[in-house]
Symmetry: C2
Subunit: 451 residues, 2 copies
């Protein structure tokens, strides 16, 4: 065992290809066309994404080469640190060895640029000049804004209105990068107008914001849609995280027994865990993978595995995923991110096959874990990442109870510098654990498409 | 010339000693005792700092060994990146090669932890349990809060009131680390109470906040004072920045013609430039060093070189420095940080000897440069750092006019994720260039101590 704190790689060690779990995961259900019910093709996706991303969405190739211009931008902050959490280990007095892979070193402070840069690159190559997208907490929107600035693309971000109002700094970050940020539902789309007509005070949701962005992209040939999570090609791009972690564990002369990621749409979790699962599926070492989701928006632990739309209006292909129903609206006061009605098909299938174990974490427990981590390790985690921190602490304490020195890896997907008002609510006691809206889920599930 | 974008070092390459410019800079004036006027001794400093820091403040040794526990914490984010700013070079169409040394990867997003960690370590070793300090924009206070959490010390931060009101996120960051943040002037000290009696609406100043922290430390044997800039030992600890940069330039097979840093108290500028100046003073390559200060608080370009107090109440030793007078209160609406009446004695002496060239930059020009940099390089700079960005852009454009391909290095001392409201004011046009208060300076200079 190497007893160092960091296990640095050089820019040459940035992976040359993304890893595609679909190549190793048997029985992955294909996305279907909402009108015909048949498996979708590359051509079906061309109105909203460039051909190469459409191909990546459907490919079963194990590896997809990372273009050099994308690797060169990755090299500005990648390989990201793998850190041994010695301060946290001491604070917990645990025999567990805890490591975290820290994505907060990116310019926007999260893992999201890993795919934003790639998507902007392929769109630029395809002659596209404008991108439209949705964002919740704003990590994705600001990352696409960054990528748009670097590749000279105009970016419009439809931001869930409750987040737009709560997080002015995220809007300003997008504006600094030159992007346009619009609260959703907006009056710019049919979708937005019809929702506002029914509910002028709608807090919005990721599903609604996605519909707005997809609608704009489908109508304007110079505009494409960029997606921040859920889809196969998005998770694909994030696998640089787990591949780097595997190389770093070789330097550490260690290997995780448990891999933990927070999961909203699934891209952070998939990016970290899929390369480890790939090793396992090809006969290598086994790992226990845990997906930590919010108790108030628990698609994996409470939802249904079914074909559903990725957005509220029903513009996207049908995806087989764990879902609360595409009409489900998460509690508006939830501060912890990860508010999406569904889970990535790749993650959902891995959960169904027992390769990933989902857990639901309450909001107040997340912030308590985040504060504990900050004081022990120095980094204030994003509320999303706190779900993984809480789960890792629980695993480390179990390790202590059982007297077994396991190796625990978790993804620290971002820092919380934009989310300190949520920490403030936690400190002042105004932050409540939101009830999961079971009735809302059943109502939404009643609207599942008939496939 | 190596054409890569990053020049990564490993944790083993973190310097083993800090570099002390005082060893190579002739004729540095010693700090003096305010009561007697004689040169101060280690003993004079013991009421407020531990013996080892007092020794470092006065030593002429060229190297001071970095303790291993401090290096191990540095290793969580150091060596910090040296990045070739290819995006900015393209945007400016300049023959200059622009590099930046990026300190925003630290847990609090700036260079300040380099000395906070060291100071907390020495205080812990000396059996101290509490630290008191001042902070302006909050970068220093949050960094000392971080260090206090890591070493188990209670931290009280007196924060300039106008910043306390403007930057709630910085307070929350300190709170997350477990520190206590108090708006200054406060009713907790004689200094604060007497200022509030005269002016209940005092916006505060770094000088006032320093007096409060020093007063507390001087009265309570278990509390010491920790300083975020200006003093020799603080600049000493920051020299890891420049030493790493020299090693990274060797990898780049390049060397800077110009080294640029923003300067408020001088620790970021000194940390970056002193190792280069040391090379020059010992007969190595010459560099032009530029210190970029705010036009509204221009100690080097408009102030006087004289003995003055570091704080408003006159508790500190007398320091020979460029000063606007210890009673000078910078414009309260200034968003760009760097609001201190004086300049570090080491920087001041280097300016007096022509080794460092000061320039003053207006606030709006800083934000314009920050936005330009963000869109070209992806990182939103802290307003302080924008002073260096603006100066670097000016140098690169001069390089273009003259058709000379110079190598320009600047310090990107931190990211602006906590300062986006200031960017918002810039975008909305409400951010004004503050006039320098010349009358206020003359009034303050009239109160210089008689030495």
């Amino acid at each position: 065992m190497n007893e160092r704190v960091q296990f640095p790689l050089s820019a040459q060690d940035i992976p040359r290809a993304w890893y595609n779990l679909a190549a190793d995961l048997p029985d992955l259900a294909a996305p279907r066309h909402p009108a015909t019910g048949r498996a979708i093709t590359v051509d079906d996706l061309l109105p909203i994404v460039p051909a190469e991303l459409a191909r990546q969405e459907l490919t079963l190739d194990r590896e997809v080469e990372i273009p050099e211009p994308v690797r060169r931008i990755y090299a500005r902050w990648r390989p990201s640190p793998l850190v041994r959490a010695r301060g946290l280990e001491r604070a917990l007095d645990t025999p567990a060895r805890i490591y975290y892979k820290y994505e907060g070193v990116s310019p926007t402070g999260s893992h999201k640029p890993n795919t934003a840069i790639a998507q902007a690159y392929y769109n630029k190559q395809a002659g596209i000049t404008k991108l439209a997208t949705e964002t919740g907490a704003g990590q994705w929107g600001s990352s696409l804004a960054l990528a748009g600035a670097l590749f000279g693309l105009d970016v419009s971000v439809y931001m869930v209105r409750v987040s737009f109002d709560q997080k002015p700094y995220r809007q300003l970050l997008m504006q600094t990068y030159g992007a346009r940020c619009v609260p959703s539902p907006s009056s710019e789309t049919e979708t937005g107008r019809s929702i506002l007509a029914r509910d002028p005070d709608s807090p919005g949701s990721l599903g609604i914001a996605s519909s707005e962005a997809v609608e704009i992209a489908a109508q304007d040939p110079s505009t494409n849609y960029a997606c921040g999570s859920v889809l196969n090609h998005v998770l694909l791009h994030q696998t640089v995280i787990g591949q780097e972690a595997i190389a770093q564990f070789a330097l550490a002369d260690d290997y995780p027994d448990v891999v933990i990621g927070c999961a909203g749409g699934g891209s952070n979790l998939g990016g970290l865990s899929f390369p480890f699962l790939g090793e396992q599926l090809r006969g290598g070492r086994s790992v226990r993978v845990i997906a930590a989701e919010p108790a108030s928006c628990p698609s994996m632990t409470r939802g249904t595995l079914a074909y559903d739309f990725g957005d509220t209006a029903g513009f996207t292909p049908l995806l087989r995923m764990h879902t609360l129903g595409h009409g489900f609206i998460p509690p508006p006061l939830h501060a912890g991110g990860l508010r999406y009605h569904g889970m990535a098909p790749l993650v959902s299938e891995a959960v169904a096959q027992g390769l990933i174990e989902p857990v639901a974490v309450a909001q107040s427990a997340c912030f308590a874990a985040g504060v504990r981590f900050a004081r022990a390790e120095g980094i204030v985690p994003a509320p999303e990442s706190c779900h993984a921190v809480e789960t890792a602490i629980r695993e480390a304490l179990r390790s202590k109870e059982e007297g077994v020195g396991r190796t625990v890896l978790f993804g620290l997907s971002g820092h919380g510098h934009f989310d300190l008002s949520a920490y403030g609510e936690y400190f002042s006691g105004t932050l409540q654990d939101e009830e999961f809206d079971v009735g809302g889920m059943y109502a939404a599930l009643a609207g599942l498409p008939d496939v």
